[in-house]
């Protein structure tokens, strides 16, 4: 019963987040002072060196409105938007790469983003929690303070500073990695794969460093609090070793809020991944967004937002659905 209720509640939140997110995505362009269609017409006009007549423009406008789902009143637009997005994953064609569909562009880039994001988030979570656990469990020892200081120094530094610092240090001062990484396209070969890994190390390092600090601080605080729990004292009085107490008692309990926190912070982590991709020219959704933003390719931008929201919400849902496996109090109610 408990589990069902938990799952139902969580799935409900999932759909609410999707709904609110997609609605924001729908409303944003329509609340903008600048109309994307005007932007497109301007760009086409410029390409055609002003050869378009007024009639051409009216015709063009009608076509574009049809193409980009801007026809009709707001409500019918909204319904057809939801239908296209939810049922067909259809975000229309890209403007810059016409007639390539936006969904295809994004789905090509999404595995890159998810690969980088999942691996680096996992490493950051694991390393950060291990260091935080040691810092928290031995909080009365002076040496543990040093571990916490690492967290304090890393945590407030934003992604872009970390990214630029990592480039500065590991590609410029110590040229271990290329200053401008290149990512091969087309069929994967072992050699190309090696190149991808090599070039992904710097962006991954940036993301790991960024998540590392937060996890240290948060886990340290949780571990300190958990160490005071009666069951840890009881384990000590049973004669259980430091290792047993730290791993089986403190970590097993203190990791639970950390899992929840991970699900909640996915949006933030995703932001960091997008930014890191832009700064490292890593061929994920972030890079697509930057290219689209500078080229005024709004369909791509809106598609990227919608898929970002869906991806983050789904990942959060997955983590929250795994949670009962870790916490018997929810599993066996």
């Amino acid at each position: 019963m408990g589990v069902l209720q938990y799952v139902a509640k969580r799935v409900g939140l999932y759909f609410a987040v999707l709904f609110i997110g997609l609605t924001i995505t729908f409303l944003l362009p329509r609340l903008m002072p600048a109309n994307p269609i005007d932007g497109y017409i301007g760009q086409i006009q410029a390409r055609a060196s002003g050869a378009l007549t007024a009639d051409d423009i009216i015709q063009l406008r009608a076509n574009l409105e049809q193409l980009y789902g801007l026809k009709g009143d707001l409500f019918s637009q909204y319904l057809s938007y939801l239908e296209r997005v939810v049922l067909h994953f259809d975000f229309g064609p890209s403007f810059t790469y016409y007639p390539q569909p936006v969904s295809q562009m994004i789905f090509n880039a999404l595995p890159w983003t998810l690969g980088l994001l999942l691996i680096s988030t996992f490493i950051a979570w694991l390393l950060g929690n291990m260091v935080g656990l040691v810092a928290g469990y031995f909080h009365t020892k002076k040496a543990a303070t040093i571990l916490e200081v690492v967290g304090i120094l890393l945590y407030p530094i934003p992604y872009y500073i970390l990214a630029v610092s990592v480039i500065l240090l590991l590609a410029y001062i110590f040229p271990i990695f290329p200053l401008s990484p290149t990512f091969p396209v087309g069929q994967m070969t072992p050699q190309k794969f090696g190149m991808v890994i090599y070039n992904s190390l710097l962006p991954a390092l940036t993301l790991v460093l960024a998540g590392f600090g937060w996890n240290i601080l948060s886990m340290k605080a949780l571990a300190v609090a958990t160490t005071e729990e009666p069951y840890v004292t009881y384990a000590r009085l049973k004669g259980a070793s430091n290792w047993t107490r730290m791993v089986r008692y403190v970590f097993r309990n203190a990791m639970l809020p950390q899992v929840t926190a991970l699900a909640l912070s996915l949006g933030t982590v995703f932001n960091g991944a997008l930014l890191t991709e832009m700064l490292f020219s890593y061929p994920g959704v972030g890079l697509i967004m930057r290219t689209a933003a500078s080229g005024g390719d709004y369909n791509v931008l809106y598609g990227a937002i919608a898929i970002s929201i869906i991806a983050v919400a789904t990942a959060g849902l997955v983590i929250d659905l795994i949670y009962p496996l870790l916490d018997p109090r929810i599993r066996h109610k």
């Binding site: 009666p230 009881y234 004669g239 097993r252 916490d327």
Partner: protein, 303 residues
């Protein structure tokens, strides 16, 4: 037989040193249930911790000694320094709050396998544990349960099972029934007595509940301000309390037929219920096996 020789335990907090146990000398015979009573802050928990050997900063053994009268695995007599190795083997502990003392995310089963130095064959240990909890009135499924799935009484049975699994010579129970309702309390106390009768070990029961002491203990130890004020056979102590503080504790027990609280209040006032006693360190034997500290005088109002 456990002997405490002028035992002094102090806490260092900042620059202040507080003597929580201030010179306790007594002998606890083997195979008896001994109750320790007294108000909060009287030093009964500290004394219990010291006997258990859980002495760590800011607490320290500032004087005297504890003789356990038992031999460790290495054949040498157990001392305050080596008692830790005997935890849950020769000496074990039943905590006050069974709910919070069991790790909420591991099964009861796993509570039986995280002692250090137990049989490395986990299967065999579990087999034995399963059989053992059955004897203590727990269903076999309890082994596979998580703490929150058990009732308060069952959890406390688990604590007793864990504490007695290796048949220790000494068990220290810290307020073992405080968190339970009255009916369950009685079951747990009976179980504790049964186990003691079966194994013949010594149990120290720390409780502020005089009713508990009356029901289960063979001997009583009354503590006040870090010192022992009275020590003797439970029956004798209840029948003929010597020290005014003991009298007050016993009088505060409501008895059937006591139709008003007035009697209690009056006796408390008469016994100096809200006064502070100065307790002499020496115990005098008033009757065979019944000791008391002479209350030298009543000094002023309580702090």
């Amino acid at each position: 037989m456990i002997k405490l020789n002028d035992l002094k335990i102090s806490y260092r907090i900042g620059n202040r040193v507080i003597e929580a146990v201030n010179g306790v000398t007594l002998t606890i015979p083997d195979g008896s249930i001994v109750g320790i009573a007294g108000e909060s802050g009287c030093g009964k928990s500290t004394l219990m911790k010291a006997i258990y050997g859980d002495i760590q900063s800011p607490m320290s053994l500032s004087g005297g000694s504890i003789e356990y009268g038992m031999k460790g695995a290495d054949g040498l007599p157990v001392t305050t320094q080596t008692i830790r190795r005997e935890w849950f083997k020769s000496i074990s502990y039943i905590p006050q709050s069974s709910m919070n003392s069991l790790n909420p995310v591991i099964r009861i089963r796993d509570q039986f396998t995280d002692f250090p130095g137990t049989d490395s064959n986990k299967k065999r240990v579990l087999e034995r544990a399963r059989a053992y909890i059955g004897k203590l009135g727990l269903p076999a499924e309890a082994m596979e349960s998580y703490p929150h799935q058990l009732s308060g009484g069952m959890r406390q049975r688990v604590m007793i099972a864990l504490a007695t699994f290796f048949q220790p010579e000494l068990i220290i129970a810290d307020e073992p029934t405080t968190a339970l309702d009255v009916v369950v309390q009685k079951e747990i106390l009976l179980l504790l007595m049964e186990v003691q009768e079966l194994m013949g070990n010594t149990i120290l029961v720390v409780s502020h509940d005089m009713g508990v002491h009356y029901q289960v203990t063979h001997k009583m130890l009354i503590m006040y301000a870090g010192r022992v004020v009275e020590y003797g056979d439970t029956e004798s102590v209840f029948a003929d309390p010597q020290h005014p503080y003991t009298k007050m504790l016993i009088d505060s027990l409501p008895t059937i037929g006591d139709d008003s609280m007035r009697g209690v209040l009056a006796s408390m006032a008469g016994a100096g219920g809200d006064r502070a006693y100065r307790v002499e360190p020496e115990l005098i034997e008033v009757k065979p096996g019944h000791f008391m500290a002479r209350p030298s005088q009543i000094v002023g109002a309580a702090a």
